[in-house]
């Protein structure tokens, strides 16, 4: 892939999705673009790009994005963001509450897939809120996805031994045959349910969250849908609530209503 072709594609992808690929990613992008060219019957980049660029359905752009941003989900993914959530955001959320009422932290994993992120958040919340000097904090994790099959898997809470982080293995998992199952005490505080992020009524029912994790989901939406989902998220957050996106994503390009908060370990968007 020539550098000029890479730049042309890179600039277009950035403008449409906010996802940026530096020149070091040329090989990575090249392989995936070549795969899309083969899949769509195009012999050269020029005709492929023109075809994709003028495709009014937007389908090929979505396929290209799927190929460029293949997502794996696993426990404690994006360590720095998790660390920020644990050590900086949770204390801020907990301390800021009305001291006369029981403290409560509500977190939403939007696009939870097979549950690794939701259980990761639950472990973090359990670890960081246990034994706080000012009394107990009740926490809950809501985890939603549009795909009912992954939700089933998430509810089972069973994972292979290599998927589970060793330091939490004994505390939060129990053996289930060759696999490990999330312990019931933790699973009880994570609720999995079906939700389409563009379903108005469903999204309106999501209220009063302190933090939303929606990582590498919005990049697959078209411009109008991405903005619509972001506006629903805004409404779902309490004032001062946080939204965590994937490290390649930018909320500022979607809807400029969140402010950017710079923490020690990460930059997060806040209502």
């Amino acid at each position: 892939m020539r550098l000029e072709d890479f730049i042309k594609l890179r600039d277009y992808v950035y403008r449409k999705s906010g996802v940026w690929f530096g020149e070091k990613k040329l090989y990575y992008v090249e392989k995936r673009v070549e795969a899309r060219m083969r899949a769509t019957g195009h012999d050269d980049f020029r005709t492929y790009f023109a075809w994709m660029r003028f495709d009014t359905s937007g389908r090929e752009f979505q396929e290209l994005m799927n190929a460029l941003t293949v997502n794996e989900t696993y426990f404690f993914r994006e360590y720095h963001q998790r660390k920020c959530f644990a050590e900086e955001v949770i204390p801020e959320i907990s301390v800021g509450q009305n001291s006369s009422a029981p403290r409560r932290v509500r977190v939403w994993s939007a696009g939870c897939s097979t549950g690794e992120e939701a259980y990761t958040l639950a472990i973090i919340l359990q670890e960081m809120t246990a034994g706080l000097p000012d009394g107990p904090v009740h926490w809950e994790v809501h985890a939603t996805d549009i795909n009912t099959e992954v939700l089933e898997r998430a509810r089972e809470g069973t994972y292979g031994p290599r998927e589970v982080p060793e330091e939490y293995l004994n505390k939060y998992f129990r053996r289930s045959g060759d696999d490990f199952e999330v312990v019931p005490e933790l699973r009880r505080q994570v609720r999995f349910y079906h939700l389409n992020l563009l379903d108005r009524d469903g999204m309106r029912s999501m209220r009063d969250f302190d933090a939303i994790f929606c990582r590498n989901v919005l990049i697959y939406f078209d411009d109008a849908s991405r903005r619509e989902a972001a506006l629903y998220f805004y409404d779902a957050l309490r004032p001062g609530g946080f939204i965590f996106l994937g490290h390649l994503e930018s909320m500022s390009r979607i809807a400029p209503i969140f402010k950017l908060r710079r923490f020690r370990d990460a930059i997060i968007y806040q209502k």
Partner: protein
């Protein structure tokens, strides 16, 4: 509509703005556009934009075209964004804007064209690069670099460079021509 216009709480106006997306009547469009220019809350403004996009009629395109003359940069950019998303519904409006006597309006119209996915947009961009008297053709050159596929597009860009002795246009044209080289 009265909630959007009058409710003292931002949250209520916000939800009202989103709810209005279900009503594609001209009166609703007029209410949304009018409120976009006066609303003090950015969040509510964003909700209004979302609803205008969802309604997506030619009335929305026409009203947004008027907003391109706003003194408020946010409102102008919002109008551009709506017109971009409306695709072919905004094409007729944008075509007329390319003849506007105000060069700032023509620049914004070019920014809309640069995001459209129809081949006619390329033809219109080519015409702008070939004939617009103002340096705002620069914006069109950049888009032509991405969308232009024909030899005529390269020739049009080179002719624009000769028409204007401007270093920035020369730089933009070189970038555009590189992107247009056949592979």
């Amino acid at each position: 509509m009265s909630t959007l216009r009058e409710h003292p709480e931002e949250g209520e106006r916000y939800r009202a703005a989103l709810d209005l997306s279900r009503y594609p009547e001209d009166g609703v469009v007029n209410c949304l556009v009018e409120r976009l220019t006066r609303e003090p809350s950015r969040a509510v403004q964003e909700a209004i934009i979302s609803s205008l996009i969802a309604i997506g009629t030619e009335t929305v395109a026409a009203r947004c075209a008027e907003l391109l003359r706003s003194r408020d940069a946010y409102v102008r950019n919002a109008a551009v964004e709506v017109l971009q998303v409306l695709e072919d519904k905004s094409l007729g409006t944008v075509r007329r804007l390319l003849d506007d006597e105000d060069p700032d309006v023509r620049i914004l119209a070019v920014n809309v064209l640069g995001e459209l996915r129809c081949k006619e947009a390329v033809e219109l961009l080519r015409q702008v690069v070939a004939s617009d008297p103002e340096i705002n053709v620069v914006a069109a050159v950049e888009f032509l670099g991405e969308m232009g596929l024909r030899r005529e597009d390269r020739e049009t860009i080179r002719a624009a460079v000769e028409r204007f002795a401007d270093p920035y246009l020369t730089f933009a044209a070189e970038t555009a021509l590189k992107k247009m080289r056949a592979t």
